[in-house]
Amino acid sequence: MKIWVYAELSQGALHGVTLEILTRARDLGDAEAIALGPGAKAAVAALGRHGARRVHVNEGQDYADYIAEPATETMAALVEKGAPDAILFAFSADSREVAGRLAARLGVGLISNAIDLEAGGDGLTVRVPYFGGAKVATYQANSKPAIVLVRPKSFEAGESGGEAEVLEVAAAAGGKRARIVERKVEAGDKIKLEDARVVVSGGRGLGGPDNFPLVEQLAEALGGAAGASRAIVDAGWVPYAMQVGQTGKTVRPGVYIAAGISGAMQHTVGMKSAKVIIAINKDADAPILKLADLGVVGDALKILPKLTEAVKARKGR
């Protein structure tokens, strides 16, 4: 099986999810990667070590400066020549835009939100959680190429020690329409949610946006990152980038603390693979308490500040 992995590059750096997907892809068949934009060549070594036999590269700045379209054009041209059986994308904000356009351009469907893949006699089968993650459907891809979007953290990245052949591809001529003219950083050098060892998330139980800093303060004291349920993102308390769940981020930290989150399946699918889950909720019947290793029935607004003080006291010693 000829299987391609679209490398996600962000400001010159290769995103870890690409290596996770490649680690799985190399066991499914002959794996190749496509890396477009500044940093593409620098990414080749890591892509090779994680199982890509060939890497198609172009360093063009346009791939970073224009949303989705130049990458779609190049991918479509490569597919026409290379005829892969499957193309795997990260199920992430940037990659899904390219995957969607490419699928529409090629006139093939796509399978999103995959958590596992198998190659069999009938082609590629894909496992996709649904009903908020309580059920898992197994799909067989009907199209060629099959376009599959894989949830981050579905696989653990591991090196196989290879070296990839580098193939330069022609730059896209068109697609220069939606241009990124400026990048503003607001979060500073905070720890990324997906990479944090400890994640503290807040939900509706916090009562209002003014109480969200209690979550952030605990996260900071623990050297972790703050997350949120969809309910409070939609309510406008915190930005979308903080959302943990089916939509938003998948996290797999050492410790996940859910404060005032009821545990809707939309949320739990994004955090239930955490090693240790601690939940604080006033409602003893909240579903989150059923999957927590430690469930505390109590008021998050009272517990969080005391917890932050206790953590600081211990870290200070």
Binding site: A99, G100, F131, K135, A187, K190, G236, T247, A284, G298
Partner: protein
């Protein structure tokens, strides 16, 4: 917050895609065949209310028209009515017996076929639906309509044919611009959706909702991209210890758990 800059009189034709979804605030159920139960309370996707609101704000600043387009069963007319009572001008309901098995591509083809003759300046979509939550329709739709896509917008400005958005990212935002016609996806919180007034609800009754079948759009039901070969229960976690907080016990027990997990 929104500061549309287009001068009055620069009429904008705005299409907003909407979807009817199971009420996210009602408990979910599964039918015997493991598909998501459809007999539940259904509502206009809350995410779409932001798209409608943004469309209305842009129309109020520039003049023009807001057209709602949805695909779904006959009942999805209610989702359009809700948007019309907020102030949208008219609606298009794509409904067809062939849509039952529609995947994202088939859905997008139908939407594109209905939208194309409208020749809109802007197409506004939610970032992703509440029920499917995959966000694949907007980029596919942009491609089929041959439009650039301005995505994850938390702020939109229109000035002449230049459209500028603030695109939400993990660590801040990007300023992204394109010429219209273009497709915009808006995030929750871009604007507070207005409530339908009684007057709006009354007015919506006489607004046009055009119903179209696949044949009217010149399309056929497609083959889905995948076939289901198995359904299983996901692995579940064992529930652990439950502690009732007495003012200090909660904090103490959490500290112990953090120490055991070696993060403290």
């Amino acid at each position: 917050m929104n500061f549309p800059l287009a001068p009055r009189g620069a009429d904008l034709k705005i299409v907003v895609t909407v979807k009817q979804v199971p009420d996210p605030n009602a408990p979910q159920g599964l039918d015997a065949d493991n598909t998501i139960a459809r007999d539940r309370e259904v509502v206009l996707d809350p995410g779409d209310e932001y798209g409608i609101e943004e469309g209305l704000l842009l129309r109020e600043a520039s003049g023009g028209e807001v057209v709602l387009v949805t695909m779904g069963p006959e009942k999805a007319r209610d989702a359009i009515r809700k948007g019309l009572s907020m102030g949208a001008d008219r609606g298009i309901l794509i409904t067809d017996e062939g849509l039952a098995g529609s995947d994202a591509l088939a859905t997008t083809r139908a939407l594109a076929a209905a939208i194309r003759p409208e020749a809109p300046d802007l197409v506004i979509c939610g970032t992703e639906s509440y029920d499917g939550s995959t966000g694949m329709v907007p980029p596919m739709l942009a491609e089929l309509l041959d439009m650039p896509q301005l995505t994850f917008a938390k702020h939109v400005e229109v000035s002449g044919d230049k459209v500028t958005i603030h695109r939400q990212t993990d660590d801040g935002y990007q300023v992204v611009e394109a010429a219209s016609p273009c497709l915009i996806t808006v995030t929750a919180g871009i604007a507070e959706p207005r409530y339908a007034s009684l007057k709006g609800i009354m007015a919506a009754r006489s607004k046009e909702v055009r119903q179209m079948a696949f044949a009217d759009l010149g399309i056929e039901a497609g083959e889905p991209a995948e076939k289901v070969v198995g359904i299983a229960d996901a692995e579940t976690r064992q529930s652990g210890e439950i502690v009732e907080d007495n003012g200090t016990s909660g904090v103490e027990r959490i500290i112990q758990a953090l120490q055991a997990a070696k993060v403290l």
